[in-house]
């Protein structure tokens, strides 16, 4: 079959040259590449902010930055990592891999695809412009935390909050268009024989994630629109003086926010479900239970939002409902973890870099999952609320969880993207430094959090000093080891040992039937799936 494909590509594989290739691109691979590079650049921008935060927290007292600037750092670090790194990273992977995995020639809506990407630099340009203005002494950048609770972001928000609002609008439009595109592609462009229950798990998880995006990004757009009106047009959605309620902000925000955290983790589950079977050289254990578990997590994500607000004074009945509903999520998540472990069980495992990151993901994400279970217990949450324990929890699931899976995916598929093998030694070095650095960074946060250190504060009491110093050392190891990743990616693009079409011995799926590097246009003749 690959011979047939190559034959066609000899005729059609011309691509536009120069900057126009990227600006006007409608090619899913080029757009995927742009998404991934955008995500990578933002990873370093957001990471630099994290290092400012950790450097300030190296010792108690105020050393490097003003508290006001510290708040801007925590806010922008959160916003950039969530909306600028994890989400575009996964959309980039979806753009590259979904059409190839289902045997489609491209995405269903290539021009809209171009637009969804090119909104992002505008959105983040606007957000980062507010920081640049702040550095030039022209008022503060957004400083209310990535959750932008009212009235901090409405009554007390700095002037740059309006930049932030429009930036979120643009990100929202971009994500919604991306999600519609992915759903349309998956529903209409599967190769003959590729039934829903034969789709790779990565495609399934993205299919469900796209539905989540379509359901909740409009709610986020709604909540920032209400903020905009409260700030500029005299409404009182969140202003008690005019009959509004700031607690309602939290309800509307978390109605978006909780599904959002699954938007950031479901594609990670998909990536790991591709990698583990490949390197265990077995089929994935419990394919259909994986699909149903993903769907259940997506459904449950809509009915648990108030576990973020146990301390707002909810009635006991409400706390119990949200507590039990949240505990339920552990069941489908546990199904997934056990399926991955069962897939590895008695497999012929090898530990190339993607597999190391995938196993690291399973292990560290599960730690984050367990701390999540601790926090869902409403009476206990009063102790954990707004402490570093929360920070430890969501960094275990997002940094050593979602970000690990994106790194795993890059190592896994980069031979297919570039036609070259990456440097395995550097990859392993990158993994071990990241894993060890990450744990030195995030693990002590559990202890200081349980002991009561609040999050988003630039200073702390003396008893937290040792653990904070440790975390800062870990942060610098974690941060600088990403330069190895960058170097390795660039080195792989520029050359290296040629990859075979299948790349990995245990690799299975349509994308591995294409030549490496994947031709500019693939599957113009649809493959048949048996």
């Amino acid at each position: 079959m690959s011979a047939v494909i190559e034959e066609h590509h000899d005729h059609h594989d011309h691509k536009p040259s120069g900057i126009g290739r990227w600006l006007f691109s409608t090619n899913h691979k080029d757009i995927g590449t742009m998404y991934l590079w955008f995500s990578f650049i933002m990873f370093f921008v957001g990471g630099a902010m994290a290092l400012v935060i950790r450097a300030e927290l190296f010792q108690p007292g105020l050393q490097l930055v003003e508290p006001e600037f510290f708040n801007q750092m925590t806010t922008l670090h959160g916003l950039i990592m969530v909306f600028g790194v994890i989400m575009p990273g996964f959309v980039g992977l979806a753009n590259w891999m979904v059409p190839m995995m289902i045997g489609a020639p491209d995405m269903a809506l290539p021009r809209m695809n171009n637009w969804s990407f090119w909104l992002l630099p505008g959105a983040f340009g606007m957000l980062i412009a507010s920081l640049i203005m702040s550095l030039m002494g022209m008022g503060s950048a957004p400083n209310f935390g990535w959750t932008f609770y009212a009235p901090l972001s409405t009554t007390y928000g700095p002037a740059s909050t309006d930049y932030f609002i429009f930036s979120v609008h643009l990100m929202g439009i971009s994500s919604i268009m991306g999600a519609i595109n992915i759903i349309a592609t998956i529903m209409n462009m599967r190769a003959p024989g590729m039934t829903y229950m034969k789709m790779p798990i990565f495609v399934w998880t993205w299919f469900i994630t796209a539905y989540l995006l379509i359901a909740v990004m409009p709610v986020l757009a709604g909540v920032v629109t209400m903020m905009l009106m409260d700030r500029n047009f005299g409404t009182s959605f969140f202003n008690a003086a005019g009959g509004g309620d700031p607690v309602m902000f939290q309800h509307v925000f978390w109605f978006f926010g909780h599904p959002e955290v699954y938007i950031m983790i479901l594609p990670a589950f998909g990536v790991v479900s591709q990698i583990v079977p490949t390197f265990a050289r077995k089929k994935i254990f419990g394919y259909s239970s994986m699909v149903y578990a993903t769907a259940s997590i997506a459904f449950l994500s809509f009915i648990v939002w108030a576990h973020h607000m146990f301390t707002t004074g909810m009635p006991v009945a409400g706390e119990l409902f949200f507590m039990y509903a949240t505990m339920l999520i552990a069941i489908p998540t546990g199904v997934k973890v056990f399926n991955w472990v069962s897939t590895m069980w008695r497999g012929s495992m090898t530990f190339e870099t993607p597999m190391l990151f995938a196993i690291g993901f399973i292990f560290l994400f599960t730690i984050g999952g367990f701390t999540g279970l601790m926090m869902c217990i409403a009476p206990a949450d009063f102790q954990y609320h707004d402490t570093y324990f929360i920070v430890a929890h969501f960094h275990y699931v997002l940094a050593t969880g979602a970000a690990f899976s994106i790194m795993a995916a890059v190592y896994f598929w980069i031979p297919k993207w570039t036609g070259n093998m990456y440097d395995e030694k550097l990859g392993k070095l990158h993994f071990w430094l990241t894993a060890i650095g990450g744990n030195i960074l995030f693990f002590p946060m559990h202890f200081v959090g349980l002991a009561g250190m609040p999050r988003r504060i630039p200073d702390y009491s003396l008893q937290f000093a040792e653990f904070n110093a440790m975390a800062t050392v870990g942060a610098f190891i974690f941060g600088f080891s990403q330069l190895i990743f960058l170097y390795n990616v660039i080195k792989t693009i520029r050359g290296g040992e040629k990859a075979t079409d299948q790349v990995w011995e245990g690799a299975d799926g349509l994308e591995w039937t294409l030549p490496s590097p994947a031709p500019f246009h693939s599957f113009t003749t649809p493959p048949t799936v048996k």
């Binding site: 190769a191 709610v219 209400m226 309620d245």
Partner: protein, 227 residues
């Protein structure tokens, strides 16, 4: 979502299959990247449906605002005393119970008034209309319009606390240096759960944002007219 997906499998599969064959026939003339035409109808259908979801969810975000208020009114969460006004005469005074009502006054943010209750607490029988007052002073040299927002604790007792007259029903305007005594007439409903023996009534004064609509005040005004 699950069932819908499962049900539509055979149909979609056939559609894809047929259209792919059609594409193969046209392959000689069409550029491979021109895939927009391939599944145009079904793609348009999918996009139309998804756009309805997007618009619907944007609307749902706003619908949460009234839903939230209705939910709080029904359950009495938030200590919202609502706009219920019941005629005091309809109630039997229950002399066997004594309820202590405490009064709290607070000012929001940059509100420059002085504001306090004339008495810290009062003991009442359920069903007995009681009149108390708060006092506010504007010591600035500007005219300031304020709006008081009431709250009753514990929240589950809020629906049994009924005000027949309150300065929170309308906005209050104080001239520079003006001092104003502001009365509240309230009744504690005899239906109040037995285990509640203490209530706290709290008012927070906000500077009235210019141009803001005031649902609390307008609702309360209507109720007053009924009396």
């Amino acid at each position: 979502m699950d069932t819908a997906v499962t049900c539509s499998v055979p149909q979609l599969y056939n559609a894809t299959d047929g259209e792919v064959r059609a594409e193969e026939e046209n392959k000689v003339t069409s550029h491979p990247n021109n895939i927009e035409g391939v599944n145009k109808n079904s793609t348009t259908r999918v996009i139309t449906r998804l756009m309805f979801v997007v618009v619907g969810m944007f609307g749902f975000g706003f619908a949460l605002v009234p839903l939230y208020d209705v939910f709080c009114d029904i359950t009495g969460i938030n200590g919202k005393t609502g706009d219920k006004v019941t005629l005091a005469e309809n109630m039997q005074v229950d002399t066997s119970r004594v309820i202590e009502v405490e009064f709290i006054a607070s000012l929001n943010g940059s509100m420059p008034w002085e504001f306090k209750p004339m008495q810290h607490s009062i003991k009442v029988h359920p069903g007995e209309p009681t009149r108390i007052s708060y006092v506010a002073v504007n010591r600035t040299d500007k005219v300031i319009v304020g709006q008081a927002v009431p709250s009753v604790a514990p929240g589950r007792a809020a629906e049994y606390f009924q005000k027949t007259e309150c300065f929170c029903f309308t906005e209050q305007k104080l001239e520079p240096g003006e001092e104003k005594e502001m009365p509240v007439i309230f009744v504690v409903d005899p239906q109040l759960p037995d285990d509640v023996s203490q209530l706290a009534l709290s008012y927070t004064f906000f500077i009235k944002p210019s141009g803001a609509s005031n649902s609390t005040a307008s609702l309360a005004n209507n109720s007053n007219q009924e009396i």
